[in-house]
Symmetry: C2
Subunit: 221 residues, 2 copies
């Protein structure tokens, strides 16, 4: 249901794991973040036992369903199917998009990460529904995220293809306007929401910045 | 097709990754190992990009099919489905057996690892078709295999349940008889085949030891 209208869900994309942050469970963080304006949730958990991922994932999945926003699982298509998630987000070393699509069917979302133009080309060939481009800025959240690439690739991708794109990697209130000005449809964040003392306020502020810049972009000639 | 008669395929169970060993590709190792008497192949590859796992996995899958032996994938049920593998082998932190079964259907194999009696009980509850018990001896192949547990658990499991069991972890020609004497239906090995200068001879020697001891076990009162 979300796939056909995916552009609407790009503005504020939350990526989160299952560990507690600042005394809050992942479910609590997600609940507050959604109340603050998050429009998309990706579960990215690389270390927890999968039985725990299933147990907690089903709660996140229900939360997102109740709020009418997409919930996708990073990397594991099998887990996405078991959770009846709305799709998957795959990196360049995960299952290729077309293979994920075989398992998920036509209704589900397949998002793909890209850090170079070649990776973006491959993601397009693999039928990506949206791209996550980054790491835009330096990040300590994702160990294997690679060096910061800035906003050039994002601009190039948006100039070349008609596909929704979120920027990801080290995005904060301070640099979010720059990401949006480069043509992003939204921003994907981890710690800018999960590590804040008040995730709802953090999300609300980020959402305000994104919405303001989306309006500005639409007014450009 | 293999699930109903799985006991027959336990004698010499090869676990292998996709990296070259001693100048041989995984496919070459598997081919030689099967020629030497391997009766079961598990692909366990944790690091390679999944598109490579799919490319090489399909070759291993065809090899095993042509030789009439089961081929299963470690951990990733999605990859197993895409390869049309004969099933999966899951550890305690991977997808629970019953969840894997939901995705795979009734014809496929679900093997489960156990290193304690509690883990074995859980594996039985999760509908394991066979158990991999270990690490029996110290191993350097699998970083997270845990301390060597010897053959006591294997003996206990075989005494308690009627399920096929392979011992795994540090098994060599020297200690294989001890594993079989504890009641194992077979041995699972990695380096005892993959790291040998002649995998076919290594497999043949191991298979001989297993078969001899299976005969001995049957002759016990």
């Amino acid at each position: 249901m979300f796939r056909k209208n995916i552009h609407s869900y790009m503005p504020l994309y939350l990526v989160l794991g299952l560990h507690e942050q600042e005394g809050r469970s992942a479910l609590e963080i997600a609940r507050e973040a959604i109340a603050g304006g998050v429009t998309f949730v990706q579960l990215r958990e690389k270390n927890a036992p999968l039985r725990q991922v299933l147990e907690q994932g089903i709660q996140l999945r229900e939360l997102c369903r109740n709020h009418g926003i997409p919930f996708v699982v990073n990397d594991r298509v099998d887990v996405a199917i078991l959770l009846d998630a709305d799709g998957v987000h795959v990196g360049q070393d995960d299952l290729p998009g077309l293979e994920a699509r075989k398992l998920l069917g036509d209704d589900k979302i397949v998002g793909i990460s890209a850090g170079t133009l070649e990776e973006a080309e491959w993601a397009m060939e693999q039928g990506a529904d949206y791209l996550g481009v980054g790491a835009i800025y330096a990040t300590f959240t994702k160990q294997d995220a690679g060096a910061a690439i800035g906003t050039d690739l994002l601009r190039e991708v948006k100039g070349r293809w008609n596909i929704p794109v979120v920027g990801i990697g080290g995005i904060t209130r301070g640099n979010a306007p720059e990401v949006m000005a480069a043509g992003a449809d939204g921003i994907a964040v981890v710690s800018a929401i999960t590590k804040q003392s008040n995730p709802q306020i953090a999300a609300s502020e980020l959402r305000g910045i994104v919405d303001k810049n989306r309006l500005l972009n639409q007014q450009l000639p």
